[in-house]
Symmetry: C2
Subunit: 408 residues, 2 copies
Amino acid sequence: MTTPWNQRYAQRMERMGSSAIRELLKLTQRQGLISFAGGLPAPELFPVKQFDEASRRVLAEHGSQALQYSTTEGYLPLRQYIVDKMSAYGIEADVDNILITSGSQQALDIIGKILINPGDKILTESPTYLGALQAWRAYQADFVTVPTDDDGLCLDYLEEALCAGPKFMYILPNFQNPGGFTLSRERREELIDVADHYGCPIIEDDPYGELRFEGEHIPPLVVLDAQKLNGNGHSFKHGNVIYMSTFSKTLAPGLRLAWMVAPRDVIQNCVMAKQGMDLHTSSINQMIAYEVAKDGFLKEHVRLIRRVYRERRDVMLNAMSAHFPPGVSWTRPEGGLFLWVRLPEGMDAAHILEGAIAQNVAFVPGVAFHPDGDGRNTMRLNFSNAQPEMIELGIQRLGQVLAAELVY
Amino acid sequence: MTTPWNQRYAQRMERMGSSAIRELLKLTQRQGLISFAGGLPAPELFPVKQFDEASRRVLAEHGSQALQYSTTEGYLPLRQYIVDKMSAYGIEADVDNILITSGSQQALDIIGKILINPGDKILTESPTYLGALQAWRAYQADFVTVPTDDDGLCLDYLEEALCAGPKFMYILPNFQNPGGFTLSRERREELIDVADHYGCPIIEDDPYGELRFEGEHIPPLVVLDAQKLNGNGHSFKHGNVIYMSTFSKTLAPGLRLAWMVAPRDVIQNCVMAKQGMDLHTSSINQMIAYEVAKDGFLKEHVRLIRRVYRERRDVMLNAMSAHFPPGVSWTRPEGGLFLWVRLPEGMDAAHILEGAIAQNVAFVPGVAFHPDGDGRNTMRLNFSNAQPEMIELGIQRLGQVLAAELVY
């Protein structure tokens, strides 16, 4: 009996390894388990009624268009909506600078496809987003990392990493996944200068930027870069930054809708790549998202999300203060979905996870977010998905597991 | 002013070239032009009312689930629905043999990702589907082609092509895009034997199989292969074939919903790849498609599509008989969306297209479907999208362009 597949898998499959996120998402489905592991939005906030009304309207008024093939670039009114959003940040993009993608994960895959040759080095923060590592390992990339602290990327280590000649650097400036920290304004400006000096492009991933609970908005890297290169409030002809964001954390992830903002020639190459990847993103989802988002609803809705997530973050922070043993420290994010916990040196969060699951609570061991295998004593906690009383209970349980382990 | 992108694009971008389908799809949007160029379903047949009802039901009963992240493998009831569909063909797959993809184009991209190393040879029919060439050129594949006639792949040339050592072969057995021909039962059985002998896996792309207007159903290659390897009606543990099909031609392409059927270990690798590509296919679209398709509606709806497309095919065939000059020949497809036209040797369909567009009618020059640059005297005509009276008018115009060219 021949099974011709085994000998035929591409070399890149060796790098892709087992699918950590996927195994973790499976955990979150176990009955009765309090999960801080996923990165799921609060489902009770999804604007179901608005989706219902929007989809009726779209099907009644544009049914054939919504169900038909559409262009790879994306639904024009939605791209225009994003142009206006970027304009509010201070960057004059036009629709030719915008590509709609099937979630941010596809934007990461597109970036890999157009930029990465096998063996290319990619500069990332340490820790960094697991999905980016997964997407780019499939292109046989290697990773060069720069440490982070409570203000984000430590610029003292940046130039040394840049000397390795990375193809681009990947930065999550706001309420970083997994770290929860935010890159300060001063560091953003310096980062732009250094990147420019070394001619190293930046991929700026900003899924949570709109979910700031407190403190002042800091302009995205793409804005600071465009202001430097093109002058204030002017065109977006040139740029060292590809900016990406998503509707997954503000509207709903089940739609798979995100976008990239980049110089026109970069977008043209992305479009060519995306065409071979899925032709285009769901027509009907783009039209419904536009119907829901326009006329100010999304802006209003984001205020609600901020309020609820802020409360959950506070519940988690207070519970950690009450229940976590001494020697454990954590970040205090000003927005987003995640907290980052540091255990005493020598403790292994993967081992803690086993004990936690036995107590029906879960998180992600931080080592998964380190391309270099560091971070064994760290863990990521999500605070957006569970209700406040479950957060309190889950942190209490986790505190007991940690305390028992520290006594040992 | 630095623009760091130009020097940084990956080597694979050289292969991807200009995006032929995309430029062609743009043509189809010109006002007043009768387009036989695209591969668009008839939009007036989209079951808009059923989508409206289904989406209300899904949002009312499972709103949170529909808008939330979901698993990479796909929505379980939809996968079960596909298991039943495959079972009707005579193959006992289970849900672990099924992966939902974001359109067939993503299935092609996944196949490239898990199987193709740069320089690998892929065996295709000549002509073959442009989207597959586009997806796999991005993995720096080379192509080995086998000629076709009115019964599909010419097996006399197959073994020579197999001696080139292709990684896999890519076959569209039913109402082929672009050729319109169908691989005969005899050739399918022989193909399975030869592929098995050479240990060469088969990718079977079957987007149109359900749209048979006349003649008898012929079992898919995946079924013949499984019967040979596993015995009649038995399990699907082993297999040399990855089968793929789509809801784009039966329900609606705007959803971006397709599926792959393969041995479990192949599906596991596909899932790992897809996770890095878009995490998962839109939750809400999968749930709505299931709601629309279940309880027999899709089966009934496909009967309507067959009736309408059959009529349009007949109108096109009759118009061609009436208006095309002598020396031009064409296929008579028993189903699907496309006709294939052969002009006299030495004529250039790309040149004809220029004249056609001046007369407000369009098609795709056949050379685009030949990895080897052959087929300059061929053209693909789509008959599913235009109304019968427009088909008549468009073929009349095209006949005039051809006649003028032949007189020259």
